[in-house]
Protein backbone atom coordinates (compact mmCIF):
# COMPACT_ATOMS: atom_id res chain seq x y z
CA UNK A 1 0.00 0.00 0.00
CA UNK A 2 1.21 3.45 -0.84
CA UNK A 3 -0.15 6.94 -0.41
CA UNK A 4 -2.16 8.56 -3.20
CA UNK A 5 -4.64 11.39 -3.62
CA UNK A 6 -8.37 11.37 -4.24
CA UNK A 7 -9.64 14.20 -6.40
CA UNK A 8 -13.37 14.88 -6.37
CA UNK A 9 -14.98 17.23 -8.83
CA UNK A 10 -18.67 18.10 -9.03
CA UNK A 11 -20.04 20.41 -11.69
CA UNK A 12 -22.78 20.83 -14.25
CA UNK A 13 -22.91 18.20 -16.97
CA UNK A 14 -22.46 20.86 -19.65
CA UNK A 15 -18.90 21.28 -18.38
CA UNK A 16 -18.03 17.58 -18.37
CA UNK A 17 -16.10 17.62 -21.64
CA UNK A 18 -13.94 20.53 -20.52
CA UNK A 19 -13.13 18.92 -17.19
CA UNK A 20 -12.24 15.59 -18.80
CA UNK A 21 -9.95 17.52 -21.12
CA UNK A 22 -8.32 19.10 -18.11
CA UNK A 23 -7.79 15.68 -16.55
CA UNK A 24 -6.29 14.37 -19.77
CA UNK A 25 -3.91 17.30 -19.99
CA UNK A 26 -2.78 16.64 -16.43
CA UNK A 27 -2.11 12.99 -17.22
CA UNK A 28 -4.88 11.79 -14.88
CA UNK A 29 -6.12 8.93 -17.03
CA UNK A 30 -7.71 6.80 -14.31
CA UNK A 31 -11.06 8.20 -13.27
CA UNK A 32 -14.66 7.33 -12.69
CA UNK A 33 -17.67 9.42 -13.63
CA UNK A 34 -21.05 9.27 -11.91
CA UNK A 35 -23.62 11.06 -14.05
CA UNK A 36 -27.08 12.38 -13.27
CA UNK A 37 -26.22 13.55 -9.83
CA UNK A 38 -28.31 16.37 -8.44
CA UNK A 39 -27.15 19.13 -6.24
CA UNK A 40 -27.43 22.52 -4.72
CA UNK A 41 -25.00 25.27 -3.89
CA UNK A 42 -25.08 28.61 -2.15
CA UNK A 43 -24.51 30.71 -5.25
CA UNK A 44 -28.21 31.20 -5.66
CA UNK A 45 -27.75 29.55 -9.04
CA UNK A 46 -29.33 26.34 -7.96
CA UNK A 47 -28.77 23.22 -9.99
CA UNK A 48 -31.00 22.48 -12.90
CA UNK A 49 -33.45 19.67 -13.11
CA UNK A 50 -32.93 19.82 -16.85
CA UNK A 51 -29.16 19.99 -16.81
CA UNK A 52 -27.76 17.59 -14.24
CA UNK A 53 -24.44 17.52 -12.48
CA UNK A 54 -21.70 14.92 -12.67
CA UNK A 55 -19.37 13.67 -9.98
CA UNK A 56 -15.85 12.60 -10.89
CA UNK A 57 -13.55 10.62 -8.64
CA UNK A 58 -9.98 10.20 -9.71
CA UNK A 59 -7.25 8.59 -7.67
CA UNK A 60 -3.76 9.57 -8.63
CA UNK A 61 -0.22 9.85 -7.36
CA UNK A 62 0.43 12.82 -5.11
CA UNK A 63 2.87 14.50 -7.44
CA UNK A 64 0.30 14.87 -10.18
CA UNK A 65 -2.01 16.95 -8.07
CA UNK A 66 -0.42 20.36 -8.55
CA UNK A 67 -0.55 20.13 -12.29
CA UNK A 68 -4.15 19.03 -12.12
CA UNK A 69 -5.17 21.90 -9.89
CA UNK A 70 -3.57 24.30 -12.33
CA UNK A 71 -5.56 22.84 -15.20
CA UNK A 72 -8.91 22.41 -13.49
CA UNK A 73 -9.21 25.48 -11.28
CA UNK A 74 -9.66 28.02 -14.11
CA UNK A 75 -12.50 25.98 -15.57
CA UNK A 76 -14.33 25.80 -12.26
CA UNK A 77 -13.57 29.48 -11.60
CA UNK A 78 -15.29 30.39 -14.83
CA UNK A 79 -18.17 27.92 -15.06
CA UNK A 80 -18.79 26.93 -11.46
CA UNK A 81 -18.42 23.60 -9.70
CA UNK A 82 -16.33 22.34 -6.81
CA UNK A 83 -13.11 20.34 -6.41
CA UNK A 84 -11.66 18.77 -3.28
CA UNK A 85 -8.53 16.75 -2.53
CA UNK A 86 -7.92 14.17 0.14
CA UNK A 87 -5.42 11.53 1.15
CA UNK A 88 -5.94 7.85 0.49
CA UNK A 89 -3.89 4.70 0.61
CA UNK A 90 -3.77 2.73 -2.58
CA UNK A 91 -4.56 -0.96 -2.11
CA UNK A 92 -4.71 -1.87 -5.73
CA UNK A 93 -4.33 0.00 -8.95
CA UNK A 94 -2.03 -1.03 -11.73
CA UNK A 95 -2.60 2.31 -13.36
CA UNK A 96 -1.61 4.50 -10.54
CA UNK A 97 1.50 2.52 -9.71
CA UNK A 98 2.54 2.83 -13.29
CA UNK A 99 2.21 6.57 -13.21
CA UNK A 100 4.24 7.10 -10.05
Amino acid sequence: MQPAKRIEIIASSVELAKILDGLDKSGVVGRTVISNVSGQSSTGEMSDELVNNFYIIAFCSRDRVNLLVENIKPILDKFGGVCYLSDVMEVQSINCVASV
Binding site: E15, N36, G44, E45, E49, L50, V51, K78, F79, G80
Partner: protein, 331 residues
Amino acid sequence: MDLSLIASNILNPPVLFFFLGMMAVLVKSDLEIPQPIPKFFSLYLLFAIGFKGGVELVKSGIGQEVVLTLLAASLMACIVPLYTFFILKLKFDLYNAAAIAATYGSISAVTFITAGSFLGQLGISYGGYMVAALALMESPAIIVGLILLKLATADLAIVDDSKVTQRDLDWSEVLKEAFLNSSVFLLVGSLLIGVMTGERGWQALSPFSQDMFYGVLAFFLLDMGLVAARRLKDLEKTGTFLISFALLIPIVNAAIGLSIAKLIGLPQGDALLFCVLCASASYIAVPAAMRLTVPEANPSLYVSAALVITFPFNIIVGIPLYLYCINMLWS
Protein backbone atom coordinates in the same frame (compact mmCIF):
# COMPACT_ATOMS: atom_id res chain seq x y z
CA MET B 1 -65.61 30.86 -29.06
CA ASP B 2 -62.36 31.85 -27.42
CA LEU B 3 -63.46 30.24 -24.20
CA SER B 4 -64.52 27.07 -25.89
CA LEU B 5 -61.11 26.81 -27.53
CA ILE B 6 -59.38 27.38 -24.22
CA ALA B 7 -61.62 24.77 -22.66
CA SER B 8 -60.97 22.23 -25.36
CA ASN B 9 -57.25 22.89 -25.00
CA ILE B 10 -57.34 22.55 -21.24
CA LEU B 11 -59.39 19.38 -21.52
CA ASN B 12 -56.58 17.96 -23.62
CA PRO B 13 -55.10 15.09 -21.59
CA PRO B 14 -51.50 16.32 -22.01
CA VAL B 15 -52.37 19.77 -20.67
CA LEU B 16 -54.29 18.21 -17.80
CA PHE B 17 -51.28 16.05 -16.96
CA PHE B 18 -49.18 19.20 -16.91
CA PHE B 19 -51.57 20.60 -14.29
CA LEU B 20 -51.43 17.33 -12.39
CA GLY B 21 -47.65 17.59 -12.20
CA MET B 22 -47.81 21.14 -10.90
CA MET B 23 -50.46 20.12 -8.41
CA ALA B 24 -48.27 17.27 -7.14
CA VAL B 25 -45.56 19.73 -6.20
CA LEU B 26 -47.98 22.22 -4.68
CA VAL B 27 -49.59 19.64 -2.38
CA LYS B 28 -46.12 18.19 -1.70
CA SER B 29 -46.84 14.73 -3.06
CA ASP B 30 -43.69 12.69 -3.63
CA LEU B 31 -44.67 11.94 -7.23
CA GLU B 32 -41.60 11.87 -9.44
CA ILE B 33 -40.86 10.58 -12.93
CA PRO B 34 -37.42 9.15 -12.41
CA GLN B 35 -34.62 10.17 -14.75
CA PRO B 36 -33.73 9.24 -17.45
CA ILE B 37 -37.33 8.50 -18.44
CA PRO B 38 -38.22 12.16 -19.10
CA LYS B 39 -34.90 12.64 -20.90
CA PHE B 40 -35.71 9.66 -23.11
CA PHE B 41 -39.26 10.89 -23.71
CA SER B 42 -37.93 14.20 -24.94
CA LEU B 43 -35.68 12.33 -27.38
CA TYR B 44 -38.65 10.23 -28.44
CA LEU B 45 -40.81 13.31 -29.09
CA LEU B 46 -38.10 14.92 -31.22
CA PHE B 47 -37.60 11.67 -33.10
CA ALA B 48 -41.32 11.22 -33.72
CA ILE B 49 -42.04 14.79 -34.76
CA GLY B 50 -38.96 14.88 -36.98
CA PHE B 51 -39.75 11.60 -38.66
CA LYS B 52 -43.35 12.56 -39.27
CA GLY B 53 -42.29 15.93 -40.63
CA GLY B 54 -39.91 14.25 -43.04
CA VAL B 55 -42.49 11.80 -44.33
CA GLU B 56 -44.99 14.58 -44.90
CA LEU B 57 -42.44 16.82 -46.50
CA VAL B 58 -41.96 14.16 -49.17
CA LYS B 59 -45.67 14.00 -49.79
CA SER B 60 -46.20 17.74 -50.07
CA GLY B 61 -42.95 18.63 -51.80
CA ILE B 62 -41.17 21.94 -51.38
CA GLY B 63 -43.19 24.82 -52.81
CA GLN B 64 -42.88 28.56 -52.58
CA GLU B 65 -44.86 28.65 -49.34
CA VAL B 66 -42.31 26.33 -47.76
CA VAL B 67 -39.37 28.44 -48.78
CA LEU B 68 -41.04 31.63 -47.60
CA THR B 69 -41.93 30.09 -44.25
CA LEU B 70 -38.40 28.88 -43.67
CA LEU B 71 -37.04 32.30 -44.55
CA ALA B 72 -39.50 33.96 -42.21
CA ALA B 73 -38.58 31.51 -39.46
CA SER B 74 -34.88 32.30 -39.77
CA LEU B 75 -35.66 35.98 -39.79
CA MET B 76 -37.75 35.79 -36.62
CA ALA B 77 -35.01 33.78 -34.90
CA CYS B 78 -32.64 36.69 -35.52
CA ILE B 79 -34.97 39.60 -34.90
CA VAL B 80 -36.41 38.48 -31.59
CA PRO B 81 -33.12 38.26 -29.67
CA LEU B 82 -32.12 41.61 -31.18
CA TYR B 83 -35.08 43.65 -30.08
CA THR B 84 -35.56 41.92 -26.75
CA PHE B 85 -31.89 42.47 -25.90
CA PHE B 86 -32.42 46.19 -25.92
CA ILE B 87 -35.54 45.93 -23.80
CA LEU B 88 -33.77 43.66 -21.35
CA LYS B 89 -30.75 45.92 -21.10
CA LEU B 90 -33.00 48.45 -19.38
CA LYS B 91 -33.06 46.29 -16.28
CA PHE B 92 -30.33 43.66 -16.56
CA ASP B 93 -26.60 43.69 -17.07
CA LEU B 94 -25.28 42.77 -20.51
CA TYR B 95 -24.70 39.12 -19.70
CA ASN B 96 -28.17 38.45 -18.39
CA ALA B 97 -29.75 40.55 -21.11
CA ALA B 98 -27.97 38.56 -23.81
CA ALA B 99 -28.78 35.21 -22.22
CA ILE B 100 -32.48 35.99 -21.76
CA ALA B 101 -32.71 37.45 -25.26
CA ALA B 102 -31.22 34.28 -26.74
CA THR B 103 -33.66 32.19 -24.71
CA TYR B 104 -36.64 34.03 -26.17
CA GLY B 105 -35.24 34.08 -29.67
CA SER B 106 -35.10 30.32 -29.67
CA ILE B 107 -38.08 27.97 -29.38
CA SER B 108 -39.59 25.28 -27.19
CA ALA B 109 -40.13 22.04 -29.08
CA VAL B 110 -42.57 20.79 -26.46
CA THR B 111 -44.78 23.84 -26.90
CA PHE B 112 -44.73 23.22 -30.65
CA ILE B 113 -45.59 19.57 -30.13
CA THR B 114 -48.42 20.40 -27.76
CA ALA B 115 -49.82 22.84 -30.30
CA GLY B 116 -49.53 20.13 -32.95
CA SER B 117 -51.46 17.66 -30.83
CA PHE B 118 -54.06 20.36 -30.13
CA LEU B 119 -54.50 20.82 -33.89
CA GLY B 120 -54.73 17.06 -34.23
CA GLN B 121 -57.60 16.96 -31.74
CA LEU B 122 -59.43 19.67 -33.66
CA GLY B 123 -58.85 17.86 -36.93
CA ILE B 124 -56.73 20.65 -38.41
CA SER B 125 -53.71 19.47 -40.38
CA TYR B 126 -50.34 21.13 -40.78
CA GLY B 127 -47.41 20.83 -43.16
CA GLY B 128 -44.37 18.70 -42.49
CA TYR B 129 -42.13 21.60 -43.32
CA MET B 130 -43.17 23.29 -40.08
CA VAL B 131 -40.86 20.79 -38.38
CA ALA B 132 -38.03 22.12 -40.50
CA ALA B 133 -38.96 25.61 -39.33
CA LEU B 134 -38.81 24.34 -35.76
CA ALA B 135 -35.30 23.02 -36.33
CA LEU B 136 -34.24 26.21 -38.08
CA MET B 137 -35.39 28.43 -35.24
CA GLU B 138 -33.67 26.62 -32.41
CA SER B 139 -30.12 27.86 -32.85
CA PRO B 140 -29.67 31.25 -34.51
CA ALA B 141 -30.62 33.12 -31.36
CA ILE B 142 -27.61 31.64 -29.58
CA ILE B 143 -25.31 33.18 -32.15
CA VAL B 144 -27.12 36.50 -32.26
CA GLY B 145 -27.04 36.75 -28.49
CA LEU B 146 -23.32 36.12 -28.40
CA ILE B 147 -22.59 38.61 -31.14
CA LEU B 148 -24.59 41.25 -29.31
CA LEU B 149 -22.74 40.47 -26.13
CA LYS B 150 -19.41 40.68 -27.91
CA LEU B 151 -20.26 44.06 -29.41
CA ALA B 152 -21.67 45.39 -26.16
CA THR B 153 -18.76 44.30 -24.01
CA ALA B 154 -16.31 45.61 -26.59
CA ASP B 155 -17.98 49.00 -26.15
CA LEU B 156 -17.70 48.65 -22.42
CA ALA B 157 -14.10 47.57 -22.57
CA ILE B 158 -13.27 50.91 -24.08
CA VAL B 159 -15.11 52.82 -21.42
CA ASP B 160 -13.85 50.88 -18.46
CA ASP B 161 -11.17 48.36 -19.12
CA SER B 162 -11.00 46.71 -15.74
CA LYS B 163 -14.62 45.71 -15.26
CA VAL B 164 -15.02 43.40 -18.16
CA THR B 165 -12.88 40.33 -18.61
CA GLN B 166 -11.63 39.86 -22.13
CA ARG B 167 -13.92 37.32 -23.84
CA ASP B 168 -12.18 35.08 -26.28
CA LEU B 169 -15.10 33.04 -27.47
CA ASP B 170 -14.24 29.75 -29.04
CA TRP B 171 -16.52 30.24 -32.04
CA SER B 172 -16.17 26.74 -33.36
CA GLU B 173 -17.44 25.49 -30.04
CA VAL B 174 -20.29 27.96 -30.01
CA LEU B 175 -21.36 26.94 -33.50
CA LYS B 176 -21.08 23.27 -32.57
CA GLU B 177 -23.18 23.79 -29.47
CA ALA B 178 -25.67 25.78 -31.54
CA PHE B 179 -26.13 23.48 -34.50
CA LEU B 180 -25.10 20.05 -33.30
CA ASN B 181 -26.75 19.99 -29.90
CA SER B 182 -28.66 16.78 -29.43
CA SER B 183 -32.14 18.28 -29.97
CA VAL B 184 -31.39 19.85 -33.30
CA PHE B 185 -29.32 16.89 -34.40
CA LEU B 186 -31.96 14.28 -33.61
CA LEU B 187 -34.77 16.39 -35.03
CA VAL B 188 -33.01 17.06 -38.31
CA GLY B 189 -31.66 13.52 -38.51
CA SER B 190 -35.10 12.01 -38.03
CA LEU B 191 -36.57 14.42 -40.54
CA LEU B 192 -34.01 13.36 -43.12
CA ILE B 193 -34.67 9.69 -42.40
CA GLY B 194 -38.37 10.39 -42.82
CA VAL B 195 -37.65 12.01 -46.18
CA MET B 196 -35.51 9.06 -47.25
CA THR B 197 -37.80 6.24 -46.19
CA GLY B 198 -41.12 7.91 -46.95
CA GLU B 199 -44.39 6.02 -46.83
CA ARG B 200 -42.77 2.59 -46.38
CA GLY B 201 -40.74 3.63 -43.39
CA TRP B 202 -43.83 5.32 -42.00
CA GLN B 203 -45.83 2.13 -42.10
CA ALA B 204 -43.15 0.26 -40.17
CA LEU B 205 -42.44 2.96 -37.60
CA SER B 206 -45.76 4.67 -37.06
CA PRO B 207 -47.16 2.27 -34.44
CA PHE B 208 -44.21 3.39 -32.33
CA SER B 209 -43.69 6.96 -33.51
CA GLN B 210 -47.31 7.96 -34.04
CA ASP B 211 -49.62 5.83 -31.89
CA MET B 212 -47.54 6.25 -28.73
CA PHE B 213 -47.02 9.93 -29.34
CA TYR B 214 -49.96 11.33 -27.47
CA GLY B 215 -49.42 9.17 -24.40
CA VAL B 216 -45.74 9.94 -24.20
CA LEU B 217 -46.53 13.62 -24.52
CA ALA B 218 -48.98 13.33 -21.62
CA PHE B 219 -46.37 11.64 -19.45
CA PHE B 220 -43.71 14.11 -20.48
CA LEU B 221 -45.91 17.09 -19.65
CA LEU B 222 -46.65 15.50 -16.29
CA ASP B 223 -42.93 15.69 -15.66
CA MET B 224 -42.70 19.22 -17.05
CA GLY B 225 -45.41 20.21 -14.60
CA LEU B 226 -43.34 18.81 -11.76
CA VAL B 227 -40.20 20.55 -12.97
CA ALA B 228 -41.88 23.89 -13.57
CA ALA B 229 -43.68 23.90 -10.23
CA ARG B 230 -40.50 23.05 -8.31
CA ARG B 231 -39.05 26.24 -9.74
CA LEU B 232 -42.00 28.40 -8.82
CA LYS B 233 -40.13 29.69 -5.78
CA ASP B 234 -37.48 31.12 -8.11
CA LEU B 235 -40.02 33.68 -9.23
CA GLU B 236 -39.47 35.71 -6.07
CA LYS B 237 -35.90 36.40 -7.08
CA THR B 238 -36.92 36.98 -10.69
CA GLY B 239 -38.62 40.29 -10.14
CA THR B 240 -41.74 41.79 -11.72
CA PHE B 241 -39.92 43.15 -14.73
CA LEU B 242 -38.88 39.73 -15.94
CA ILE B 243 -42.27 38.23 -15.06
CA SER B 244 -44.07 40.84 -17.15
CA PHE B 245 -41.53 40.35 -19.91
CA ALA B 246 -42.15 36.60 -19.87
CA LEU B 247 -45.89 37.12 -20.19
CA LEU B 248 -45.99 39.95 -22.72
CA ILE B 249 -43.19 39.11 -25.11
CA PRO B 250 -44.81 35.83 -26.19
CA ILE B 251 -47.93 37.74 -27.15
CA VAL B 252 -45.94 40.37 -29.02
CA ASN B 253 -43.95 37.68 -30.82
CA ALA B 254 -47.07 35.72 -31.62
CA ALA B 255 -48.61 38.88 -33.08
CA ILE B 256 -45.58 39.46 -35.27
CA GLY B 257 -45.67 35.81 -36.27
CA LEU B 258 -49.35 36.07 -37.07
CA SER B 259 -48.81 39.06 -39.33
CA ILE B 260 -46.04 37.27 -41.19
CA ALA B 261 -48.15 34.13 -41.53
CA LYS B 262 -51.02 36.18 -42.94
CA LEU B 263 -48.61 37.90 -45.31
CA ILE B 264 -47.20 34.64 -46.62
CA GLY B 265 -50.68 33.19 -46.75
CA LEU B 266 -50.11 30.18 -44.55
CA PRO B 267 -53.10 27.92 -43.88
CA GLN B 268 -54.49 28.05 -40.34
CA GLY B 269 -52.67 25.02 -38.89
CA ASP B 270 -49.29 26.18 -40.12
CA ALA B 271 -50.02 29.72 -39.00
CA LEU B 272 -50.70 28.54 -35.46
CA LEU B 273 -47.48 26.57 -35.33
CA PHE B 274 -45.53 29.52 -36.67
CA CYS B 275 -47.02 31.79 -34.01
CA VAL B 276 -46.23 29.26 -31.34
CA LEU B 277 -42.62 29.02 -32.50
CA CYS B 278 -42.28 32.78 -32.32
CA ALA B 279 -43.99 32.97 -28.95
CA SER B 280 -42.13 30.17 -27.21
CA ALA B 281 -38.78 30.33 -25.43
CA SER B 282 -36.11 27.68 -25.00
CA TYR B 283 -35.49 26.15 -21.58
CA ILE B 284 -33.20 23.29 -22.59
CA ALA B 285 -30.91 23.88 -25.55
CA VAL B 286 -30.24 27.58 -25.09
CA PRO B 287 -29.74 27.43 -21.32
CA ALA B 288 -27.22 24.62 -21.81
CA ALA B 289 -25.37 26.72 -24.37
CA MET B 290 -25.55 29.84 -22.20
CA ARG B 291 -24.05 28.10 -19.19
CA LEU B 292 -20.95 27.47 -21.23
CA THR B 293 -20.75 30.63 -23.29
CA VAL B 294 -22.07 33.25 -20.87
CA PRO B 295 -21.28 31.76 -17.47
CA GLU B 296 -21.65 35.26 -15.99
CA ALA B 297 -25.41 35.17 -16.56
CA ASN B 298 -27.67 33.74 -13.91
CA PRO B 299 -29.39 30.56 -15.14
CA SER B 300 -32.19 30.87 -12.60
CA LEU B 301 -33.26 34.03 -14.42
CA TYR B 302 -33.40 32.75 -17.98
CA VAL B 303 -34.51 29.22 -17.17
CA SER B 304 -37.24 30.30 -14.76
CA ALA B 305 -38.71 32.93 -17.03
CA ALA B 306 -38.91 30.53 -19.97
CA LEU B 307 -39.97 27.46 -18.01
CA VAL B 308 -42.12 28.72 -15.17
CA ILE B 309 -43.96 31.53 -16.92
CA THR B 310 -43.74 31.50 -20.70
CA PHE B 311 -44.04 27.74 -21.13
CA PRO B 312 -47.19 27.26 -19.01
CA PHE B 313 -48.65 30.46 -20.41
CA ASN B 314 -48.28 29.23 -23.97
CA ILE B 315 -49.43 25.71 -23.18
CA ILE B 316 -52.55 26.81 -21.36
CA VAL B 317 -53.62 30.20 -22.68
CA GLY B 318 -51.39 31.00 -25.60
CA ILE B 319 -52.14 28.16 -27.98
CA PRO B 320 -55.93 28.53 -27.99
CA LEU B 321 -55.65 32.33 -27.92
CA TYR B 322 -53.42 32.43 -30.98
CA LEU B 323 -55.73 30.02 -32.77
CA TYR B 324 -58.70 32.17 -31.89
CA CYS B 325 -57.07 35.20 -33.44
CA ILE B 326 -56.09 33.20 -36.50
CA ASN B 327 -59.63 31.90 -36.89
CA MET B 328 -60.89 35.48 -36.71
CA LEU B 329 -58.43 36.92 -39.20
CA TRP B 330 -58.39 34.04 -41.68
CA SER B 331 -62.13 33.69 -42.10
